[in-house]
């Protein structure tokens, strides 16, 4: 970075006013007899984006149009950060190379779709059981391992679809069994503090599954072949394929945006699964029953839905969604038993950002986290350092969310 002082002083200035806004605004709103659940968020963003210039009007005109203010200042905050970065580091690839930026954004969205899918599993479990599954990453890992073992070791030549279905099946079964054996005591008051019990027992499950797979499969990385090769397409013409150009393993759009085959396949599958999931949740009896239980457990029970069976279904389905995410990504990354750690943390971030228990929140959160990670890895000058900080980007989002708006973007009040 050429002028780090500029960048960091802007960041410090924004943090300072963000903190002032976040702390003072709830008090002002409280005095004005207003709902303060959004106040820290509004104050922090307005403060960060405009400092005292925005905060004083915000406090003065308080009951009017604060939602639009928040949105504008959120955009403003991001813009100021980006501008400060561009001014401070004019030679950075992210500033000089528009193609790279477009590519990064596309890849961020592609990965974000898959992150969203995995996070939906977590949020589905939470919305029904009020349990955060700390073994979510292990379901992801097992999904990928299963695809690798089915398609490369046990039955070489199996079509990828079969392998993916096998991965879904096994993660579904593990989820269901675990719920039956270990979570049932929570429902009837046999456990003194059910939430803490669930945290510990799923943490134990994570530990168990990780090393169980390691004991069986070993710790060395494996990698599945990509599911299929792109057909060679060159549009509009073979000589000047400025619209679409494919090779077996890559897809280039407009000569600028490049997406690798495994990621593309994974994102397409993720979107298909998403549609199936939505159909399931909104059009089938089981899906409607699940949503009913998540909205009001007792009311659902009165109408003849067995909430206990829904618990099992939700946990199995949630685990399966994580397994599926792993199954479609195993062709893109090399796989070890510890591979689930990072995606699990990322899913936690996404569901907290989107609002624990909210499915649309998980999807939008996935896209946001995908973009932030793409920006972080693409633009931080020292690539090795950028890679080391990948978990941190998500955690910064998590911390900010928990401090400013613990219910998340789409969360409902507890």
């Amino acid at each position: 970075m050429e002028f780090p002082l500029i960048f960091w002083s802007v960041v410090l200035w924004m943090i300072a006013w963000g903190v002032i806004g976040g702390v003072v605004t709830p008090r002002v709103f409280l005095r004005k007899d207003m709902d303060i659940s959004n106040a820290p968020l509004a104050g922090a963003f307005v403060g960060a984006a405009s400092g005292p210039l925005g905060l004083i009007p915000l406090w003065h005109f308080a009951p009017q149009t604060t939602n639009r203010w928040v949105l504008l200042s959120a955009v403003g905050t991001v813009l100021i950060l980006v501008t400060a970065f561009a001014v401070a580091d004019p030679d950075n690839v992210c500033v000089t190379n528009g193609d790279l930026v477009a590519s990064q954004i596309t890849n961020g969205l592609v990965m974000g779709t898959i992150y969203g899918l995995m996070a939906m599993g977590l949020t589905l479990i939470f919305s029904i059981l009020r349990v955060v599954n700390f073994a979510h990453g292990e379901f992801y890992m097992i999904g990928g391992m299963m695809v690798y073992y089915v398609s490369a070791v046990w039955l070489p030549g199996t079509p990828p679809v079969v392998a993916v279905l096998a991965a879904c099946a096994i993660t579904f079964v593990i989820g269901g069994l675990f719920e039956r054996i270990f979570l049932t005591p929570m429902y009837d008051g046999r456990v003194e503090r059910p939430i803490e019990y669930a945290v510990l027992v799923t943490f134990g499950l994570a530990f168990f599954l990780q090393y169980f797979v390691q004991a069986l499969a070993g710790a060395s990385p494996v990698k599945a072949r990509r599911f299929f090769d792109f057909p060679i397409i060159r549009l509009p013409s073979a000589e000047d394929p400025w619209l679409i150009k494919t090779s077996k393993a890559n897809l280039t759009l407009f000569d600028t945006v490049s997406i690798s085959n495994p990621r593309f396949t994974a994102a397409v599958i993720a979107i298909l699964v998403l549609l199936v999931l939505l159909f399931f949740l909104y059009r089938t009896w089981y899906g409607k029953a699940l949503r009913a239980v998540s909205q009001d457990r007792q009311a659902a029970a009165v109408t003849g839905i067995d909430p206990h069976r829904m618990n099992m279904l939700a946990f199995a389905l949630g685990g399966m969604l994580a397994g599926l995410s792993g199954a479609v990504l195993v062709q893109a990354f090399s796989w070890v038993p510890q591979v689930g750690m990072l995606p699990a943390l990322r899913s936690f971030v996404i569901v907290v950002l989107g609002g624990l228990g909210s499915l649309p929140g998980a999807f939008v959160g996935g896209l946001i986290v995908g973009l932030v990670e793409a920006a972080g890895t693409g633009c931080i000058p020292d690539p090795q350092r950028a890679a080391s900080y990948i978990p941190a980007y998500g955690m910064i989002i998590l911390t900010l969310t928990l401090l400013l708006k613990p219910t998340g973007l789409f969360g409902r009040k507890e």
Binding site: V132, L205, F207, F208, A215, M341, F348, S388, M395, P406
Partner: protein, 404 residues
């Protein structure tokens, strides 16, 4: 008396541990001593986590982060701070009486780092005294830094409950690990930060001379730290502190309505347990001699959780004993074996066994495997007393129950 059994067993065990290094003389002396030192380390962590999670109900997965803060603070102190009798002119330095307090530039990751002090040394040609401040100051700093961050995290998580708290603290731990691995110019990242042994020049105890690599002095340091931590925690447990943190674990609103300053005690329990974890980390770091960001991978946290859960979350002693038992089990299960032509790789299977043990303990014996034993002794007679008094003077409230 049954009630005295735990106290008697405890004193016997402590006597055994105090005498052990002096009487044990087998060929694997160094190995066994190493096991005990590490077992004390884990016992301190597991029991302090039990105080945080079991007593105060704050299920934090960031405990190892505080341990690492202690370790890295003393590690950086040990590597970066020097006292010299003349100005270096090249390093950052503060005059300090007739001495200079010198802070090195980032040491980087090269195998043979050449610091600004090395440059000055060459120029001085041996005429200037260069000293490292006592590493005990580093350990002290480590404990303070642990406490400071404990306070900060405790403040931040005040409003978070259960799963959110676990997520947030896990996140804190991961951020710290990222920073430690990424800022490798300062921390040397995965290359590892080297530390002096606890007694760099050896030590003489009652005429017996021990050099820097001898385990016995370290054993007693760790043992003393263990005893001190347990004593502090037990004293706290029996004081109003213990009563209040348990009450806020049970019901925060009800505790507040009865006059308990819940915020203060919640933050305080974070500060205390963080300082204890940091102390353990700092001493252990000097004993091991090298630290990497891997000391706070999730596996480590999972081990500490497993130890506390299996021992008994709601008892400091049970968690400490559970940690020792599990640690020795871990070590002794390390040997792989072969049945026919199948080799069972125990280094991994023992962890599988651990995971299963934790889940089964939680499922079927929620208070741990050890704590119920202790409790059955200390609480022996309670039920009999209840029944006896009920028979003697049947009370109105009992009548009411009987009538139901």
């Amino acid at each position: 008396m049954r009630r005295q059994i735990p106290a008697i067993a405890g004193s016997l065990a402590l006597g055994f541990l105090a005498a052990f290094p002096l009487v044990y003389g087998a060929a694997d002396y160094d190995y066994i001593m190493h096991l005990w030192i590490t077992a004390f380390f884990y016992a301190i962590l597991a029991s302090s986590w039990a105080l945080l999670a079991g007593y105060a109900g704050q299920f934090s997965f960031g405990h190892m982060a505080f341990m690492a803060l202690g370790a890295y603070t003393t590690g950086l102190f040990n590597n970066y701070f020097y006292l010299t009798s003349a100005a270096t002119g090249t390093c950052f330095e503060i005059p300090f009486g007739s001495w200079y307090f010198v802070v090195l530039d980032p040491i980087g990751i090269s195998a043979t780092p050449f610091s600004c002090l090395d440059a000055a040394r060459e120029a001085w040609a041996g005429n200037v005294v260069v000293k490292k401040p006592s590493l005990w100051f580093g350990i002290l700093f480590g404990i303070l830094v642990g406490g400071l961050f404990g306070w900060l995290i405790g403040r931040l998580v005040l409003r978070l409950r259960a799963a959110y708290l676990a997520l947030f603290t896990l996140g804190f731990s991961e951020i710290l690990r990222s920073v430690l691995s990424a800022e490798l110019n300062i921390t040397r990242g995965q290359a590892g930060l080297e530390l002096d042994p606890l007694f760099p020049n050896g030590i003489t105890i009652f005429g017996a001379v021990f050099d820097a690599t001898d385990k016995l002095p370290t054993y007693y340091v760790m043992f003393a730290l263990f005893l001190a931590c347990i004593a502090i925690m037990l004293a706290l447990e029996r004081s109003r502190f213990g009563l209040f943190v348990r009450s806020l674990r049970e019901d925060e609103d009800a505790a507040a309505a009865l006059g308990v300053h819940t915020v203060r005690y919640k933050v305080l329990v974070f500060v205390v347990t963080s300082m204890i974890a940091a102390a353990a980390g700092a001493v252990q770091a000097h004993y091991i001699g090298i630290i990497t960001p891997n000391i706070l991978i999730i596996l480590q946290m999972a081990l500490v959780v497993a130890m506390a859960v299996v021992g008994g979350l709601e008892s400091i002693i049970a968690a400490a004993v559970g940690a020792m038992v599990l640690y020795f089990l871990l070590e002794f299960l390390r040997n792989s074996f072969t049945i026919g032509d199948v080799t069972v790789d125990m280094t991994t299977w023992r962890l599988v066994f651990f995971g299963a043990l934790v889940m089964l303990t939680l499922r079927f014996q929620r208070n741990g495997l050890l704590y119920p034993l202790i409790e059955s002794c200390t609480r022996s007679g309670v039920a009999e007393e209840t029944v006896a008094k009920r028979v003697a003077g049947a009370s109105a409230s009992e009548d009411a129950e009987a009538a139901k």
